[in-house]
Symmetry: C2
Subunit: 323 residues, 2 copies
């Protein structure tokens, strides 16, 4: 089923159809570029967010020893990798779809232009040949009418006995001369017609079908490339799915391995003073010669109280700390 044979008289349809095909290709390229921008923007936002929430500074690094803090940092790292995969999607869509198809579109536009211009040239040639044939045919018709008129004139002179033989012969010779000219014109017309019909045949059976078939071949190549571009749109993302899955698994693993008992124990290990709890306050028996002590006894659990209470501005409850 080829366009050359079946659509020989549908140049306009083929013109519009191949244009619509290139328009679709162009629209698809724009679509992929837009998707790429969305993907880049998405990746950038994810990346900025992970940076924003990542811990900085030594104070916070200390907290990171606790599993529930450490796991959040791991999640941020995994999400950073995740963002990297989205960036990869954007990069591959640009390289494997947009850039390739853009180049291809330029070539196809040029090719289509050439084919349509060839059609126009062939049509103009045939038109001009036809005009030439028409003019030759008209000359034959005119010459034949003149010869016919001259012959009738000569016959009329001959049948009228009032005319001299010289006049009759003169008229007959004139008529013969015109007839010869007319017959030459008829031969020219016949030859030109034959030439034209050969040309017309070539136009309809060879020239136009060949160009239309080239346009069909071009359109089918465009469709194959476009179909490949459609598939790439899926494959590029499908290719990163295993790594994205791994990132998600990493996040779940970070959540699962959190051990609240261990975190509680770590706080003890880091801050346990090792001091015994205060013993009972002893009886100071002044009746046995003990002198009144001040209240800063070594056994006093609240020793240095006033001093401490005002040492730290916000926290009034630091009295239990042993230094």
């Amino acid at each position: 089923m080829d366009w050359g044979t079946n659509l020989w008289d549908q140049n306009d349809v083929i013109d519009k159809h191949t244009q619509a095909g290139l328009d679709l290709l162009e629209r698809y390229i724009k679509f992929v570029k837009e998707r790429t921008e969305i993907e880049q923007n998405y990746a950038k936002q994810l990346r900025n967010m992970t940076k924003k929430y990542s811990k900085r500074g030594s104070k916070e690094e200390l907290e990171c020893k606790f599993s529930n803090h450490a796991s959040f940092q791991e999640i941020l790292n995994e999400l950073g990798d995740y963002a990297g995969q989205r960036e990869l999607i954007a990069e591959n869509m640009t390289a494997n779809i947009s850039d390739k198809l853009t180049k291809y579109l330029q070539d196809l536009k040029q090719e289509r232009k050439t084919h349509l211009s060839d059609v126009k040239k062939a049509q103009q040639n045939l038109e001009s040949s036809f005009k030439h044939l028409e003019s030759i045919k008209k000359r034959f018709a005119k010459e034949w009418a003149e010869a016919d008129k001259a012959t009738q004139q000569a016959d009329k002179l001959e049948n009228d006995n009032n005319n001299s033989k010289i006049d009759v012969d003169k008229a007959k010779n004139h008529a013969l001369a015109r007839m010869r000219t007319a017959e030459e014109c008829r031969n020219s017309y016949a030859a030109e017609l034959q030439k034209y019909n050969k040309e017309q045949n070539h136009f309809y059976y060879t020239e136009i079908p060949q160009i239309f078939n080239k346009l069909q071949d071009m359109d089918e190549r465009r469709i194959r490339q476009l179909a490949e571009g459609y598939c790439q749109f899926s494959h590029i993302e499908k290719n990163v799915l295993p790594i994205i899955s791994k990132c998600l698994e990493g996040i779940a693993a970070a959540g699962t391995k959190i051990d609240e008992k261990k975190d509680s124990k770590l706080l003890i290990e880091q801050y346990k003073s090792g001091f015994e709890r205060p013993a009972d306050v002893e009886f100071e028996d002044y009746s046995q010669g003990v002198k009144p002590s001040n209240s800063e006894s070594a056994l006093n659990p609240l020793k240095g109280r006033k001093h401490k209470i005002f040492k730290k501005h916000k926290v009034n409850l630091t009295v239990f700390e042993v230094e």
Copy 2:
């Protein structure tokens, strides 16, 4: 390993540590909300793009009969579903993480406040008891000193023979009275000390450890909830991955099923006129009495040429169309 026993003197550490825990929970909620916004924005952009590129209008619907056009529409539909899955991620993150943890954070903040306030109250009570003990001890010391002084005074008077027995007895009685008062004070002090030591013991061995253990329990509950929130962050996205995979498969299928030969054939089926190609132009033999025809012969392939050429403004090549 409990905080109550091991960190009995680290109130300040526990205060700061539980605050840091709530801060992390709060930061995680903010983080998830931010991710949710990014996800919503991403889904919205994808959805707007699919709408923008979807075909509208009858003219373009006609084109959609061609597989390469139809498949693009299918890809847009699949990407619309894909955007729907990203929206679902955002919705579930809000419902299953942010909303839940926000409610939980409020409860924990209140609980922590109560526990720390209980610590402060207990500490204030003990301080006030200690101050009371101090004052009683001081009174005892003072009274004892007075009694001691009175006793020495009486002894001095007795040993000095210049004094009358009445004066000596008076001094002795005074000393005895003071000594009785001092002994009462000693008994009060002893009783108060016993009471205080019981209270102090309760404070260090029961009251504070119990509150610190409640804070530890609270912190461990916080960690478990946070860990669950971390896991949800992964699971919510993992749950939509199968449908996202299906969308991607749908896109690949749309690309794969494109048939360029079928599309070429469809154009023929839609636009084939069925007309035969023009036959040869016939010889018009005026010498056989044929009258000159005008050039609009039925056999002339270019009939109506001038008319047609100017009928359609842009396309000059419509001369081959048969109407």
